[in-house]
Symmetry: C2
Subunit: 254 residues, 2 copies
């Protein structure tokens, strides 16, 4: 009998941002597989279910292991932080299934609160207009393609959510990105920097574009860059939805 | 004494996708305010807490009402479907507070599972590469600006999540968007159409770009348009993360 594979987004980290659907899914399986840091975030859930932790950059072996176990009849959970469908494990699962010609395993993706939603909520409301998510990691995508995409996105007026802005050694894409942003946006453009959202050590910084090159940024950071309408007010970063006159604020204000 | 205002994303609709944080926040307030359709989705939560339902397009009065009550000392919840920070109520709250010069009210934004994450999870894994969210509603943003942004986004290679694709009378932005997409993407590009995600009446369609102009699309629909790498396989829509050769699928496949 073939098993099942649930790909589960556990949200940014805090227990109270893990959906009941994700909790129930974790409780329904025979084995939970994931990157060790993420497994630690769900220590308190389904504590008796066996876990298989893998290291960083072990994505493909991790997915193969999950598929093997499911093919052997197990009910398997594969966890991602944030939303499993946004730079998470869901895509690789389907890629591997296609590669292996494996069609009998029932796959379910359980959505979660993704990093950009988590970061935005801590900053205020920066994502109220059209926005683009861009990963600055050039491990799997050529750097020039990333930077070209960034340049078009900023020209288009998107608010930007930058994932994986900088690695320990991988600093050049971030430096180049800062240059591109500086070329197209005013220096006073608000920029929000959220590290370890809803985890121990969380930090939230609201700066301007001028400060971005020197900002402390790493792999657990989400950077949100405003568009030309974004403003900072009393420590909050806000992108107005549409234009103030259309809201007729004065007419409806009592 | 000044009250508090919690802006709460209740997720796409299903009870099991409302985070414990949102549930707790709803249980902690004196009054819950929201669009009547959304309040119906949380009938079962905090059933004894008074509710004030408002109609569609009553966003500004709704926010003013919430602010008035909070200023009078109440603990107020304002609910949005999906994530309150993505085309939701969070931005308008901060806009209205600034407009009124109101700085004493403590505002908290509770993030949720947004419509694009919900739709993506039902389709497979279309958002594994950089993506852009674009609302096709031209109520608050000039149509030409929306369409220009769409055109740049598709040229940049983003996967696209289209919000509010079509209203009852508002069909032209969608028609124009279909023309722009057809100009830049191959006709066989996978397109996912999700209506009423995780609600009664949910429907999921996986088509190609050719079929988009004639697709049944309305205000409770999220449309996800693939990029040049997106494929459809056994009813799932998948955008590979990076390039297959970098995953070294063959080497790690046992």
């Amino acid at each position: 009998m073939t098993g099942t594979l649930k790909v589960i987004g556990i949200g940014p980290g805090a227990a109270e941002l893990i959906t009941p659907a994700a909790q129930r899914a974790l409780e329904s399986v025979d084995v939970i597989i994931g990157y060790k840091t993420y497994l630690r975030l769900i220590d308190h859930l389904a504590p008796d279910t066996p876990r298989q932790a893998t290291g960083m950059r072990q994505e493909v072996p991790r997915v193969n292991q999950a598929v093997e176990l499911a093919r052997a009849g197990q009910r398997v959970a594969l966890v991602s932080s944030g939303d499993a469908g946004v730079y998470g494990m869901a895509g690789l699962v389907f890629e591997v299934l296609r590669e292996r010609g494996e069609n009998g395993i029932g796959v379910e993706v359980v959505p979660g609160v993704s990093a950009l939603n988590a970061a935005a909520s801590l900053l205020g409301a920066p994502l109220m207009m059209d926005f683009a998510a861009i990963s600055l990691s050039d491990q799997l995508v050529p750097r020039d393609e990333i930077l070209r995409r960034l340049e078009l996105a900023v020209q288009a007026g998107f608010v930007l959510a930058l994932y994986n802005p900088k690695g320990k050694k991988r600093t050049e894409p971030f430096e180049r990105a800062c240059e591109i942003l500086a070329r197209h946006l005013p220096p006073e453009t608000p920029v929000g920097i959220v590290r370890d959202a809803y985890r121990t050590g969380q930090s939230i910084e609201l700066i301007t574009l001028t400060g971005l090159p020197a900002a402390e940024v790493n792999m657990v950071t989400t950077v949100i860059v405003g568009n030309r309408h974004t403003f900072a007010h009393h420590g909050k970063m806000v992108t107005p939805r549409g234009y103030a006159n259309k809201y007729e604020l004065d007419q409806t204000d009592e």
